[in-house]
């Protein structure tokens, strides 16, 4: 998961809702509905382009739902108790060991960030840190940041060009001793220099980098990245001196596994409303009940109907939902068995009833499941359009396609061609309910068409090995938590790329990926991406199933927190403004 957020820029405009406060959703466009002021889980008000809550009793699949409120409406004081799955032993978010969502929850209120993303996905400079950022398209492309001179690290040092340089040098990949998650973006920077003074940072790129707004998120003090040694192994504890932000590290209890943050006395921005943020390690299974018992203030429900029941029925609970950046899909291996054949891949896609699969995966949760018809954008994102071009569910069409290609249906209902049976292997990850469910349903649907569908098991431990080695024909999994559809797009779809688990070789896609990576005009980029997407549907690379929901239970009086949708909490949460209604 990259920590960059930029492609969200592309995610802009369309989405309206969550900004409107308590009143209704302005205008008929877009929708989202967000939660009703009453906090009722059934929000019938949503209408419009995203269609989410339009069906009665369904949750809203809008862009964001955090119950926004002005500071004046909220009271000072109180605590926010957040469950996390584990404590880090390496708190460096740019190191692979520290790159986990629960750790970002802890770091986020103490982090530097250049931009805040509005619910619409628009990046706005976070003026506590960056007063202004201007881009000169060049060539060469140059971005000039004007930093807030008041901004300081907790040890009193100013946040200035030195920190930018240190981060660039650590992450650009030149010194292999730094173990980093991703060089993306930083490896395209040619220089980082001071402008008129140390608070003006001039960043020069060696080629246009459209996702530049995602850089420098979570930057820490230059000392924290000065040497590979410090970067790799100096982070076993949270060193408050390296951080900044509205909250500051207060205590860690290793026996209870609880971390507490308190308002930062040196913070120069608006004073935080809450007295304390408490992060407690609680196993996923125990969270819903603990929330219902009033021992947690916020809990992510996930695709678990029991948890949904418990949380939505709890006293004083508000369910907040949004469409997330994750989506389920079947990846089709272009190098395995009958899936080598493009016609078979197309027939495969047309045999799968994605709506039924999605509804079954999320049974017990009133989520408006709809098939996802785009490989690039999810439904609640600007740029989303249906590119499936007839490759959606159509078993009759699938049979026609096969028969036109010379496949003949045998007595047992299975197609054959040149002595080869239409046998496809679906690899399910055993012990993962959604995977088992999806494969079981797909098997029945494929047999309906005339496939001989077999389900084979892979253990959770061997899953990633099988994936990398291409030892599968079709496998279902999620693309997780990357709200940036374009920044690493080539990784998944380019020939020979690292995460191209379909092992595809599509020249028409390859030749379009290069220009896409350097196009600075957001609208143009969206068009280019959709053009690629149309080819991906035609070729049958990955069959997107549905966009996964973000469902959060939040104590109802809490405002400015909940389901952040595509923008994610670390680019959208304003921790100093989270508080309780009076």
């Amino acid at each position: 998961m990259r920590r960059t957020v930029t492609a969200l820029i592309a995610a802009s405009a369309l989405v309206v809702a969550a900004c409107g406060g308590d009143d209704d959703v302005a205008g008929g466009v877009a929708s989202g509905g967000t939660a009703a002021p009453t906090g009722s889980a059934t929000d019938g008000t949503a209408t419009g382009a995203i269609e989410a809550g339009s069906e009665d009793g369904k949750l809203s699949a809008g862009p964001q739902d955090i119950e926004p409120a002005e500071r004046a409406e909220l009271q000072h004081g109180g605590e926010l108790r957040i469950p996390i799955s584990s404590l880090a032993d390496n708190w460096n978010g740019n190191h692979p060991l520290g790159n986990e969502v629960p750790y970002s929850w802890v770091r986020s209120p103490m982090e530097f960030r250049p931009f805040i993303f509005t619910p619409e996905g628009e990046p706005v400079p976070d003026e506590d840190f960056v007063l202004d950022a201007t881009v000169d398209e060049g060539p060469p492309m140059v971005v000039t940041y004007t930093l807030n001179p008041e901004a300081k690290w907790n040890n009193g040092d100013p946040i200035d060009v030195d920190d930018f340089q240190a981060m660039w040098k650590a992450l650009n990949g030149e010194n292999k001793q730094f173990k980093v998650n991703s060089h993306a973006g930083y490896d395209q920077i040619e220089s980082v220099e001071a402008g008129a003074n140390n608070f003006e940072v001039v960043v020069t790129f060696d080629k246009p980098y459209p996702d530049w707004q995602g850089l420098w998120l979570g930057m820490t003090h230059a000392d924290s990245m000065a040497t590979p040694r410090v970067f790799n192994t100096g982070w076993d504890e949270i060193n408050p001196d390296w951080f900044t932000g509205p909250f500051v590290f207060d205590s860690l209890d290793t026996a209870q596994q609880v971390i507490e943050l308190v308002p930062n006395p040196n913070w120069w921005g608006d004073e935080p409303l809450l007295d304390k943020l408490i992060y407690r390690v609680v196993s996923a299974d125990a969270r819903a009940q603990a929330f219902a018992n009033g021992e947690l203030d916020i809990v992510e429900v996930g695709p678990d109907p029991n948890a949904y029941q418990t949380v939505s029925g709890a006293e004083g609970a508000d369910i907040r939902t949004a469409g997330g950046p994750d989506w389920r899909h079947f990846t089709m291996n272009h190098k395995a068995g009958v899936m080598k054949d493009k016609t078979v891949r197309q027939a495969f896609m047309m045999s799968i009833d994605r709506e039924t699969i999605g509804e079954s995966d999320l049974a017990g949760i009133p989520w408006p499941v709809e098939p996802l018809n785009n490989h690039v954008f999810v439904k609640s994102q600007e740029g989303y359009q249906d590119n499936s071009n007839g490759f959606g569910y159509d078993p009759q069409g699938a049979r026609q396609l096969l028969e036109d290609d010379g496949w003949v249906r045998g007595d047992d209902g299975v197609y054959e061609k040149d002595g080869q049976r239409l046998t496809v292997e679906l690899t399910q990850i055993s012990g993962v309910p959604v995977s088992e469910n999806e494969n079981k349903l797909a098997q029945a649907q494929l047999q309906e068409t005339g496939f001989d569908a077999q389900v084979v098991n892979v253990s959770q431990d061997d899953f990633s090995d099988a994936l990398f080695a291409g030892e599968f024909q079709v496998m279902a999994f999620s693309w997780i938590g990357d709200p940036l559809p374009l920044d690493d797009f080539d990784q998944v779809y380019g020939t020979g790329s690292d995460s191209n688990f379909a092992f595809s070789n599509i020249p028409e896609v390859d030749e379009r990926l290069g220009p896409l990576a350097t196009e600075l005009d957001p609208q143009k980029r969206i068009e280019m991406a959709n053009e690629i997407d149309t080819i991906l549907w035609e070729e049958g690379h990955t069959l997107p199933l549905y966009q996964r929901p973000q469902i959060w239970g939040v104590s109802e009086e809490l405002a400015n927190i909940g389901a952040f949708g595509l923008t994610r909490f670390d680019t959208a949460a304003q921790w100093e403004n989270i508080g309780r209604r009076s």
Binding site: N90, H183, T254, A255, Q256, S283, A286, Q289, I480, D498
Partner: protein, 336 residues
Amino acid sequence: MATYVLRRAVGYLVLLFIAVTLAYLLAGTQLEPRAAFAQQLQGATPEGREAIVSVLRENNLDTSENVVVRYGRWLSDVVTDNDWGVSPRDESVREQLSTRMWVSLRLVTIGSILGAAGGTLLGAWTATRQYKRSDRFATLSSLVVISIPTFVIAIILALTATWLNSRTDTGFWSFLPELQFLGETGKHPPGFLHGFLNRLNHLILPTITLALTQLAIYSRIQRNIMLDNLNADYVRTAQAKGLTRRQAVFKHALRTSLIPTATYFAFTVGLLFTGSVFVEKIFGWHGMGEYLVDTIREQDIHGAVATAAFAGVLVVVAAILSEVFVAILDPRVRVR
């Protein structure tokens, strides 16, 4: 006697060493630390993936190396530095152990003492009242408790607590403190007494869970052994010598029938540390039970081996303890 114990101790140590070695070989070949990063690897950049692999290699967790080589390196660290290695996520196993064993101790002490003592008494008492209504009631309820899995009991208790809490604001239940079931203490007002009471509050539900199951099992065991002894000749003899029935039962029958229970107690105490998995998971305690499950789930070779070693040590301690118990209760052993 001393040489006998010493010889036993050396034997136990050799056994322990073999057990730990086998545990390492098993964990080292069956667990795959890279899988702990499956999700990250899948979307990772090449540099990110390389970084993960190199960190694992530095931490002696690269499974492409021969397991015996890895074992040798690990063993020498354990022997020379008492360094038990790190998890795939670079967490010190020794630190985890040293924190978690005390957490477990706090969690299981009261519950197991209540359960064992209460169960023994209940069993002894019901044995003297065989087939009476109270005996039948105790038998039935302990069978019910035994047949309900621990995690169901724990969840029922948690649900009940939530229900009770929703009623404590007003009405009949308002005298009760808000029952909490996460961890030992989240927040509490300052002061020793408050802290102590708060801890107790957090202990209530897990303790009931642990005590209930223990109580049910002990009462069954104790009742059966006791029944055998109640009708034994020596009890009748004692009564014939002029002791009352009550004296004969307490001084002779109960004492004799405590011996097998004590042995059982010693061994269960050892296993309780790693056996309270569900209680820890459901009530948010971070002790040895959770560690046992988590290390395996998270492909943590060193953690899993350390847990096995820890459990092994406990079994050894329990075995010695049970011999001591028996010595105290059984005069024949003392004389020997």
